[in-house]
Symmetry: C2
Subunit: 211 residues, 2 copies
DNA sequence: GTTTATTTTAAACACTTGTTTGAAAAATGC
DNA sequence: GCATTTTTCAAACAAGTGTTTAAAATAAAC
C-alpha cells in the first residue's frame, strides 16, 4: 500500500515549499518533483491545490491548537480551584510556549512555523479563512481567560491587544531563521527558550499596559 | 503629455490591487485594465512587474519614512536639550503615529497600508529586501533612541522587542479594515486615533517590560 | 488465481502569465 | 510645417499554470 507514502511525501514537500516560496509562488510541478511522485497525484489524493494547502495546515495546526487549548484550560481551571486571580503571563505562555516548543518537535515543523506565519498574511481568501477558523477556538478561549484575568479592562481593548500579540508572534514565526532589518548583519537564530524569554515578557507587559 | 497620467494611473491601480490580492495574485492585465492603459505600458514605463511594485512601495514609503525620521530626530534632540531621559512612548509614537495618520492623508493611502503590511510577509526576495532597505534607516534610528531611553537593557533585547513591534504594527495594517478571528462577527473598523490609542500603550509597555 | 478496486503514469488540455515586437499615433523641438 | 523623439497599441510569443483523461500498473478481496 503506497497511498500513505505518497500522501505523506506530498504533504512534506508542500509544507517546505509553501513555507519558503508562498502558496502562489509554489507550483504543483515543483511539489510533486520534490516529493518524487506523479504530477496528477495531488489532484487524485487531495482534489486541488487549494485543498492541499488546507490539509498541510490542518495536519499540524489541529494538534498544535489542541495542546494550546489543553494547557490553557489547565491554567484556567487551576486558578479557579486555587481561587487566585488568573495570571496574564500564564495565559500568554499557554499560547506562545507550545508554538515555539513545536519547533523542536519534528523536522518539518520549523518550516511549518514559517508557513503559518505566512498564512495570516495570505491574500487568498479561502486559505486565510480556513486558517482563521482553525485558530478561532484558541483565540476565543484566550480572550475569555484574559477578561477574567484583567477585570476592569474593556473586552474591546483586550481583543485588540490579543490581535497585536498574534501580529508579533506570527511575524516572528515568519522570519524565524532570517531576521532582516539590521544594518550590522543578521542577529542570528535564537534558540526556542531564548525566543520565548524574549516574546513572553513583551506581550505580557503589553497586555497589562495601563488604560 | 500623457506620460504622467499613464504612470500615475498604473501606480494607483497597482497599489490598490497589490494590497488586496497580493503581488503574485495580481496580473498585469488586471492592473492595466483597471488603469485604463495598454498592457505593454507597464513594461515600457517601469521595465518589469517587479520594478513596478518597488516603485509603488517607494512612492509612498520614502516620504512616510522621512516624516517618521523627522519626528524621531526632533524627539531625540528635544530631550537632549532639556537633558531629560528620552521617553520610550515618544519614540514609539514617532513611528506609529505618522503611519496611522498617513491613512487619512490621501485616498489611496489606506490600501497602501495593507500593502506594506503585506510586503513584509512577501515571499519574493527582491520585493521584501527592497522594502527592508527602505525601512532600515528608521529601524536603526529607533534602536539608537531606545538604547539611550532604556539604559541597562541589552541592545539585543531591544532589537527583538522592536522586531515584535513591527510585527504587531504590520499585522494591524494588513487587516486594518477586516479583522477576522472573532466569533461574534467583526469588531468593526477603528478610527486612526483610536487605533493609535490601542497600539501605542501596548508596544510601549512591551518595550519597557522588566528583564 | 481471477476479479474487482485502487493507484500511478504520461500526455494533453485549456488557460493565464510576463514580456516583446513593430507599426501607428501623439507630442516635442526647431 | 517638417523632422524627431516619445508614447500607445494590438498582436503574438514562449513559458508556466492547475486540471483532466484514459490506459497501464499495482493492490485487495474472495
Amino acid at each position: 500500500m503506497k497511498q500513505k507514502d505518497t500522501k505523506q511525501n506530498i504533504l512534506d514537500a508542500a509544507e517546505e515549499l509553501f513555507a519558503v516560496d508562498g502558496y502562489h509562488g509554489t507550483s504543483l510541478r515543483t511539489i510533486t518533483k520534490k516529493a518524487g511522485v506523479n504530477l496528477a497525484s495531488v489532484n487524485y489524493h487531495f482534489g486541488s491545490k487549494e485543498e492541499l494547502v488546507v490539509e498541510v495546515l490542518r495536519r499540524r495546526l489541529v494538534p498544535l491548537n489542541e495542546s494550546r487549548i489543553k494547557k490553557l484550560q489547565k491554567v484556567l481551571l487551576d486558578e479557579k480551584l486555587l481561587q487566585q486571580p488568573v495570571g496574564v503571563e500564564a495565559i500568554m505562555r499557554s499560547f506562545i510556549e507550545p508554538t515555539l516548543k513545536f519547533r523542536d518537535a519534528s523536522p518539518g515543523a520549523m518550516s511549518f512555523l514559517s508557513l503559518i506565519g505566512r498564512a495570516l498574511a495570505e491574500p487568498d481568501d479561502t486559505v486565510r479563512k480556513k486558517f482563521a477558523s482553525m485558530m478561532e477556538p484558541v483565540f476565543h478561549l484566550m480572550l475569555e481567560g484574559l477578561v477574567k484575568a484583567l477585570p476592569g479592562y474593556p473586552k474591546e481593548v483586550l481583543f485588540w491587544r490579543l490581535h497585536f500579540t498574534i501580529g508579533a508572534t506570527s511575524h516572528t514565526l515568519r522570519c524565524i531563521d532570517n531576521v532582516p532589518m539590521d544594518k550590522e548583519g543578521k542577529m542570528g537564530t535564537l534558540s526556542t527558550e531564548k525566543l520565548v524569554a524574549m516574546l513572553l515578557p513583551f506581550v505580557t507587559a503589553g497586555m497589562e499596559a495601563p488604560l
